[in-house]
Symmetry: D2
Subunit: 134 residues, 4 copies
């Protein structure tokens, strides 16, 4: 069972074609990911820490979203490895599928000089996220 | 030979990790596409027309961009079919590869009631875009 | 009594200083305005219509907002004239005042060739908005 | 004589009313400010430093900007005090005035725990900025 995040399309997110701009869907995926973290009692980027970096992101667009549409974003963990988590997302407006996407993320620390370095996905974090998906 | 679009990272595009937010890369791909159109003497969305809708977009992130970095975005047409154009993008900061992405777009008209309908990729448009790539 | 809209700061809205970018506050004011309209049973921009244009907007920043902060945005109607509505906003994070702003808007229609033209503020709209503020 | 920054309206910056969203003008003001700094041989936020925080920002909108419009943004320093710099901006599209705005900024340092603290406006910075305005 996927985690659900509901998001309303704001006016500033529409473009002159009268629909939510395609880049907005990537922000929505990230918001849904962070909502999942909060539901698990976690924050993905506690103050002063770098958080998780994206190594890949993609989206297939099936139908547009319009101003004030409320979109249900379903988040699932599609795959994990030692240093990566890949999320899968399905966007629905009511029963209509709006599209689906994936986002592959890696945990990173930031040194004092701003360099980002990866580390192993913490097992307890994964466990807590997964507890929200079942 | 790909078309080149140069873009500087603006402050508002950075996030608290100190790098350009990943969603910004999708905006940059679109800006590069539109710059290619202008170079070809075209506008992708003349006032009052809908333009081209995205059916898919993806990006693989290799290295971060930071505030005021100037990024070279190389645009190529990777594939075309009757109703689609797929662009391929490579982002470089100097000699360093920042990442690569694709964007698949379809030409759409917008009816008076806001419905978007696809039509065939105009041959002369493709020809003019390709002339910028060789 | 002002209308309250609650908004959480999203990661993409932070900048490299680790706080919500100042331009985001203008988006929040607009979101709060639109939430007030929805609470009044209205939509500020029904599909196919232009909506309301801003003629002035300003904000005084007192304290920063950070990732995942939940901000209460209080909306009030500060002033109206035949063709204008001026909203006043106060942002609070818990008891702390984050800042305050104003936004002056005018109702506009959009002609087929894209020209925006103002018209008189509809009395029934004002009445319904005000009913949410008392 | 003001410093000039030229900016083209990108597609993602338009909204469903077919014009550049009003929040975008605040980003443009900041971009113009940062371009002035670069012209003066400075960076407003060297990697690892906080930069300048906004304490006030406002804009009066006279005419809309549309997709691909090239806007000239004229930056001037309207007022300075020990801890503040207030910039004034005029936006023009060709000869047409699009609007004007102001932005008041204060230099801030960021401590290890993320607290922002103001300091005096450096005299040499002001001098170098002003050299670009005359």
């Amino acid at each position: 069972m996927a985690f659900r995040y509901r998001r309303r399309v704001e006016f500033a997110e529409t473009d002159q074609a009268g629909i939510a701009h395609f880049s907005v869907f990537f922000r929505y995926m990230e918001e849904a990911e962070h909502a999942l973290w909060r539901a698990a009692g976690l924050s993905i980027a506690p103050q002063g820490q770098a958080g998780w970096a994206r190594v890949a992101a993609g989206f297939d667009f099936k139908a547009p979203l319009r101003f004030e549409d409320e979109c249900d974003i379903f988040v699932d963990i599609a795959e994990t490895s030692r240093r990566k988590v890949r999320y899968a997302f399905t966007f629905k407006h009511g029963d209509r599928v709006i599209g689906s996407g994936t986002m592959t993320t890696v945990p990173v620390n930031k040194s004092a000089d701003g360099i980002l370095t990866g580390y192993d996905v913490p097992a307890d974090v994964l466990e807590r996220l997964r507890a929200q998906l079942s």
